[in-house]
Symmetry: C2
Subunit: 279 residues, 2 copies
């Protein structure tokens, strides 16, 4: 399996693969840079025996979004399976899994959908379903065929699920429909993010990822001179704003501003005003 790694969650994906006995080849550009379709193409030429390519669509640890459409096209060309961790992008930006040919795409309730945590959300292609039937010793809990069987029988899920979160997700999706549908929701994410980005620039701050690859759902911001990211986080917390600390190797050099769930434009104005005072 080829694992595209842009940060902590890409590393996690490779760990998960290895813990299942899969041989992993890593494609890891310097931190802050997206996965290059050309480099992925080259790696697939060098490893014709690869069965699948895994990637993190939106890497929250560095606030970066990958060019999923272009990357998926490269993988499709080579006929490999595509696994996409869309934990922090599904719901915040369009992901047309059928058009892109994504075989497994997963996310969770507590990110862009703004529902409490405890529920995984995913799609599986016919191709992946078919192949999974032939895999042995794959365990029970994540066996796609078992979940498919219960859905086909109209029984729902093979285990008692996180019902409150399902009810919450249902309510959130109905709210999105009522307010204008998914495009309206994606636009809202884009508008809020633009507002945060412009505000940050006005304060003289810059974002960590390479220009043009900034995530629409979380901004990873370089800490101001002479001040560690953790201190910005703590001081903002004292003022009642829950930002996020930096993650992994850039923990001290950055801090992050999430843009997920229920946020009003006025909240962003207030946050930026307070951030200006803190730095």
């Amino acid at each position: 399996m080829i694992c595209c790694i842009n940060g902590s969650f890409g590393e996690r994906f490779a760990e998960v693969a290895e813990s299942n006995g899969i041989t992993v080849v890593k494609l890891a550009p310097p931190l802050g840079e997206p996965i290059s379709p050309a480099e992925l193409d080259k790696l697939l030429v060098d490893h014709p025996d690869a069965e699948a390519v895994a990637m993190t669509h939106n890497e929250t640890s560095v606030g970066l979004i990958n060019p999923l459409k272009e990357l998926a096209a490269v993988v499709r060309k080579h006929g490999k399976l595509i696994f996409v961790d869309a934990v922090s992008s599904m719901g915040g930006t369009d992901i047309n899994v059928d058009e892109l040919g994504v075989d497994v795409c997963f996310s969770s309730s507590q990110k862009c959908f703004g529902v409490p945590p405890g529920l995984g959300i995913g799609s599986v292609s016919e191709r992946a379903l078919g192949l999974s039937a032939e895999v042995t010793n794959k365990g029970w809990y994540f066996d796609f065929k078992i979940w498919e069987e219960d859905q086909k029988k109209g029984r729902g899920t093979p285990v008692t699920p996180a019902i409150p979160q399902i009810a919450g997700l249902n309510a959130a999706l109905k709210m999105i429909e009522r307010k204008g549908g998914k495009q309206w929701y994606f636009n809202l994410y884009g508008e809020r993010n633009q507002k945060i980005r412009r505000g940050i620039e006005k304060l003289g701050l810059s974002t960590f990822p390479k220009k043009g690859n900034e995530s629409p759902t979380v901004n990873c911001i370089n800490a101001p001179k002479g001040m560690e990211g953790g201190l910005v986080y703590e001081k903002m917390r004292d003022k009642g704003f829950e930002l996020a600390e930096g993650y992994g190797s850039i923990k001290k050099k950055t801090f992050r501003i999430g843009n997920m769930g229920y946020i009003e434009m006025a909240d962003i104005d207030m946050m930026l005003k307070n951030l200006g005072e803190v730095i």
Copy 2:
């Protein structure tokens, strides 16, 4: 692995083992009878290469509780690992995992603790933790060592958990403490169950499992003559009482009355009065 099977959830345990490539030997007495410690002992003598014994403590599908203490003593004598599915017993009756030598004991939030579903609860022995470290290709999500590592670091859990259910479980456990501790809670289960059992007998109904092995948390009741269990369930539902249908091969011949979560004695009186009218 030796799998003790009293019904649907014991069968499930065997399926889970087989899906992980484990060779399973089944010990399955006739439906409604508990696992016999003597028969388990004999099976362990016949299969000295067995590594573990799995059992369902309380089999809700037939309303039966197994003699865990005696069964655990047999397994301990042979030095094998003991895995206990305590989904519908933990919280409703005492399970002293250390004293019994149970290596893995698991349950969930929505049964005896009366919290919404979505959270798994479990204990793992030092022996099982040590052995699990040597297992390869075991996947990531259920790797005990990963969960242990994060707990030791004080980070909580390696993935974002079902936080609302954790808060709910915390509230439920505090309530139990406040009202008199776990023995008070076990007694409450016993009292409620006695009340249900006596009421059923007064109505001329009988319980399905072999005498002396009736579960304290769910009663599996033989359907009255000339009336399928499913009809009892539906008619009670029409009256506002959520009982449970029979399960598996005895679906038509039985119905079930759960005794988990928040139930007042007056609720039981009302339920029995209505059940008398229905049958």
